[in-house]
């Protein structure tokens, strides 16, 4: 159950990044998994340099955000008026570039980041012993999601983003500089994935290919929750986390099969996803 919660929380955070980018910009970012991986590596580098986990999180997240801003400005921006297939292809190509770039610098061998001292050891929950850091992950991700919620629902930027999800043309014609908003949103979305990548780093080992599996799971989460829906991403993430962890306890081989079966079921019964909006398709 707790394993599921940890995984679910992470998936929720990554998926909300993907979903706000799609919802606002209309671009499906296939490089999102690579951003997750990049976050892990960026955190690893900062940690090696400073030995501080907090700095690793901050530095890594900011680095991925900067990378996101740069990618939007240089490449994605030229794709808004091109067909969605081109957008998918270019982000797919970017994902390969990012993965191979990381492989170029760090090699294919896995790297690891130790959990921070306050997260070492286990905590007695009364009914079971559980690694402290994993509990901390849930808390950290919850805070991050809260921050994202605040930005989306309580700020001017968030209002524009949500309006943009409803009707991007209208927002544009209201005299708001959508390009700048788009750039920021892409940066925030990338940062959400990168942040999850660092927070997750002490739990797993880092490899350049780790983003691919996460990307596919994120897709499942978003399809279950409903594309473009922030609450949908969170709900979908939590559900996916539970499915994977519960099935893993019974038979690990079927964990992903069950996850995809759940997606199929949602598609058959509610093609727009559990909390899907009716707008874009």
């Amino acid at each position: 159950m707790f394993n599921g919660l940890v995984l679910g929380a992470l998936l929720a955070l990554i998926s909300s990044g993907l979903t706000i980018i799609y919802g606002t910009l209309g671009v499906l970012n296939l490089a999102h998994g690579a951003m997750f991986m990049l976050g892990g590596y960026a955190g690893y580098v900062v940690f090696q340099a400073t030995e501080s986990f907090v700095l690793a999180i901050a530095g890594g997240a900011l680095f991925v955000m900067a990378a996101g801003l740069l990618i939007e400005r240089l490449i994605i921006r030229h794709f808004y008026d091109r067909p969605p297939e081109d957008q998918i292809l270019v982000t797919f190509g970017l994902a390969i570039c990012i993965v191979e770039l990381v492989r170029f610098f760090f090699g294919s061998l896995s790297r690891s980041v130790p959990p921070p001292p306050w997260g070492a050891g286990v905590t007695n929950l009364g009914f079971m012993l559980y690694p402290t850091y994993r509990l901390a992950v849930v808390a950290i991700v919850a805070i991050a999601l809260g921050a994202l919620y605040f930005v989306l629902y309580r700020t001017r930027l968030g209002m524009i983003v949500r309006a943009g999800i409803e009707d991007a043309v209208m927002v544009d014609s209201l005299g708001i500089n959508v390009f700048r908003v788009f750039m920021v949103v892409f940066g925030i979305g990338a940062m959400a994935a990168g942040f999850a990548g660092i927070v997750n780093a002490p739990v797993v080992s880092l490899t350049p290919d780790m983003g691919e599996a996460i990307l596919v799971q994120t897709f499942v989460v978003v399809v279950i929750g409903g594309v473009g829906s922030f609450p949908g991403a969170i709900l979908g993430g939590l559900i996916a986390g539970q499915i994977i962890s519960i099935t893993s306890m019974i038979n690990p081989g079927y964990a992903y099969v069950m996850l995809f079966a759940a997606m199929t079921l949602v598609l058959l019964l509610r093609p727009r996803g559990l909390l899907g909006a009716r707008s874009r398709d």
Binding site: E85, I88, L89, C97, E100, R103, G253, F260, L267, P271
Partner: protein, 620 residues
């Protein structure tokens, strides 16, 4: 005029070139440093890609899940052969391909419930699921991470001679035969009526459906075709390597296929082959000669991104563009003339229209003719907003009805309900005595009711002739037909229908021009032509005069008069003078209700109509 010649000049050119290329390859490629095994792999990827190109390049469906069918076909064939269930390689390949097709059908039904990015995401996820299924639940059959070793090479007995296919060039001929067959069939498919409809779906699925084609089923056909090619290629991969690798099922396989196709050129059928050649060549060259090792993929990734950004149609597209550019350099006049034709056409009389024009001025409204369309108490609400409320509306056979009304009166909503693009909140619609309420727009078009759109809905990457062909096919072939290998020239009546529609809207001179190169007025006429080519019993025209210059209006009004003979038409427009001249009976809509109905003269004299338009300022 021979349609097959006009649609496809030099009918067997590509087939012959493919055969020549395949025969020449073993003699030429070794000198370029290609090992036979590399060439064989290229052929397998090329064959795999043909199906994907039909799916993506021709139908516009970007699937990242082709590995599912590649793996399925491969593992079924390999399993049957290694377990000695089947001894014939050919038979095993066939069973594997059928297996892939069945899987493709199932996944297609599911994935095609959604379009665009959803479709891409679902295909990724489903393919990934197949990888996990292969790896765990079915590992007893598939060998899990080890794959299936020991796939035998094919053996034939022809006229008592035993032919054993070995490795290297001997295997090449075996694979080349498959590739050739694959290309020949694919060329037939893309030239068939189904192929034409697939490209229509790629360009504008909404209009393809509105013209009476069952878009969902055709998409499924394309999806299954993609799966069939993937299945046979997967089977051949096992035969080629003597081993069926589990990587066939990975996301990387699908990704590599997508990249090779895009690098080579999408929508060309040969693109995947060229892309695979570039890919495998670069892989060898960069890893060994340049010594980049594993990071050769970084170079590839950068090249790919640049290609998507700058060269949209891949290498083959680039070559074509270059060719066209060189030819334009040589013969500039003809091109310039082409571009200005739209304006020039306005100055000379339109022969097609003039001939047919001027039917004996306003036909009397035939009260005795039965109703062709009856709407009863039609209402459409969007939340609290009432777009149409309680409209009763009857059109008689042979009538030309005009609908006018201020902006926001609900005219377009009303039209959309009549053609079943949207469904009414309440009320019923009867067409030729049949209740069509709640039917699909495709059904309704097949019954003979269609409309031309207020905003052009054309197939912009196709020519005028191809556009009209797609519309005519809907009427001649019905909503769905699986004539995958039929030559459209053999469909009786098709060519006449297309030519006739082209004459009517005066686009015969622009038959082989792409829609994207047409002038605005020409596009407007083609928009009407599309609706006409479906041979509707009842034709609805939504603002046919919108955005036209006064001169174009005069011509178009004449066109509308000529096509109204023998047809029932309903026309919406803001140009009241034009409508008063055209229509025998006018319906005025205001705020979603019928304000008045009557002859043009009655409407002109109606005080409430004046008030609606002029706000009562000039009330007499």
């Amino acid at each position: 005029m021979n349609t097959s010649r006009r649609l496809h000049p030099r009918p067997f050119l590509y087939e012959a070139l493919t055969a020549l290329g395949l025969i020449a390859a073993p003699f030429v490629l070794p000198h370029l440093g290609f090992a036979p095994n590399t060439v064989n792999q290229i052929l397998v990827w090329g064959l795999f890609g043909i199906g994907f190109d039909i799916l993506f390049g021709y139908t516009g469906l970007l699937s990242f899940g082709q590995s599912a069918f590649y793996g399925t076909g491969g593992f079924i064939a390999a399993y049957l052969l290694t377990q000695n269930i089947l001894s014939s390689v050919m038979l095993a390949l066939l069973v594997g391909t059928i297996g892939a097709a069945v899987v493709g059908l199932g996944i297609g039904v599911l994935a095609l419930r959604r379009t665009g990015i959803y479709f891409a995401m679902i295909t990724v996820a489903i393919a990934e699921m197949f990888f996990f299924i292969e790896n765990s639940p079915l590992s007893g059959y598939t060998g899990g991470e080890n794959g299936i070793p020991g796939v035998p090479a094919p053996r034939f007995e022809i006229f008592g001679m035993r032919l054993e296919v070995g490795t290297g060039w001997s295997m090449y001929w075996f694979l080349a035969a498959f590739y050739f067959l694959g290309i020949v069939l694919a060329l037939r498919i893309v030239r068939s009526p189904v192929g034409a409809i697939l490209s229509a779906i790629r360009d504008n699925p909404v209009r393809a459906a509105a013209l009476g084609h069952s878009v969902e089923r055709y998409k499924l056909v394309a999806f299954v075709i993609g799966a069939v090619y993937a299945g046979i290629a997967g089977g051949l991969l096992g035969v080629l390597q003597g081993f069926m690798p589990p990587d066939a099922f990975t996301f990387e396989t699908s990704g590599q296929l997508v990249m090779q196709t895009v690098i080579g050129g999408v929508g060309t059928l040969f693109g995947p082959l060229l892309g695979a050649t570039v890919w495998l060549f670069l892989s060898d060259f960069l890893q060994q000669s340049v010594g980049l090792g594993a990071s050769w993929k970084l170079v590839l990734g950068v090249v790919f991104v640049l290609l998507v950004v700058f060269l949209r149609h891949g290498l083959i597209g680039g070559i074509k563009d270059l060719h066209r550019w060189l030819r334009r350099e040589k013969a500039p006049e003809s091109q310039v003339d082409d571009g200005a034709d739209g304006l020039a056409a306005m100055d000379r009389p339109m022969p097609g229209i003039v001939d047919a024009a001027a039917p004996d001025r306003p036909r009397e409204r035939d009260e005795a003719a039965g109703p062709i369309l009856t709407a009863t108490a039609l209402t459409k609400r969007y939340g609290g907003l009432v777009a149409n409320s309680d409209i009763d509306f009857t059109v008689r056979r042979g009538e030309l009805r005009g609908i006018i009304g201020p902006n926001g009166a609900g005219k377009t909503t009303f039209f959309k309900m009549l053609t079943c693009e949207i469904h009414p909140t309440s009320g019923t619609i009867e067409f030729e005595g049949r209740d069509i309420t709640g039917r699909s727009v495709t059904d309704v078009c097949q019954l003979g009711l269609t409309k031309s759109y207020q905003v052009n809905q054309l197939f912009s990457r196709l020519t005028v002739r191809q556009n009209l062909t797609i519309a005519a096919l809907a009427d001649l072939r019905g909503r769905f037909r699986l004539d995958l290998f039929r030559n459209p020239a053999h469909i009786p009546g098709l060519q006449e229908r297309v030519e006739h529609a082209m004459e009517l809207v005066d686009l015969a001179g622009r038959a082989d021009t792409r829609v994207s190169a047409l002038a605005y007025g020409e596009k407007r006429r083609l928009e009407i032509g599309l609706a006409l080519a479906t041979s509707p019993v009842l034709l609805l025209l939504d603002e046919p005069l919108a955005g036209m210059s006064p001169r174009e209006r005069v011509e178009t009004v004449r066109l509308l008069k000529s096509i109204s003979r023998g047809r029932t038409m309903i026309v919406i427009d803001h140009d009241m003078d034009a409508l008063f001249e055209l229509a025998q009976w006018i319906t005025v809509l205001q705020e979603g209700r019928i304000l008045a109905e009557g002859t043009p003269d009655e409407i002109k004299g109606n005080s409430s109509v004046r008030e609606a338009y002029l706000g009562g300022v000039l009330a007499p």
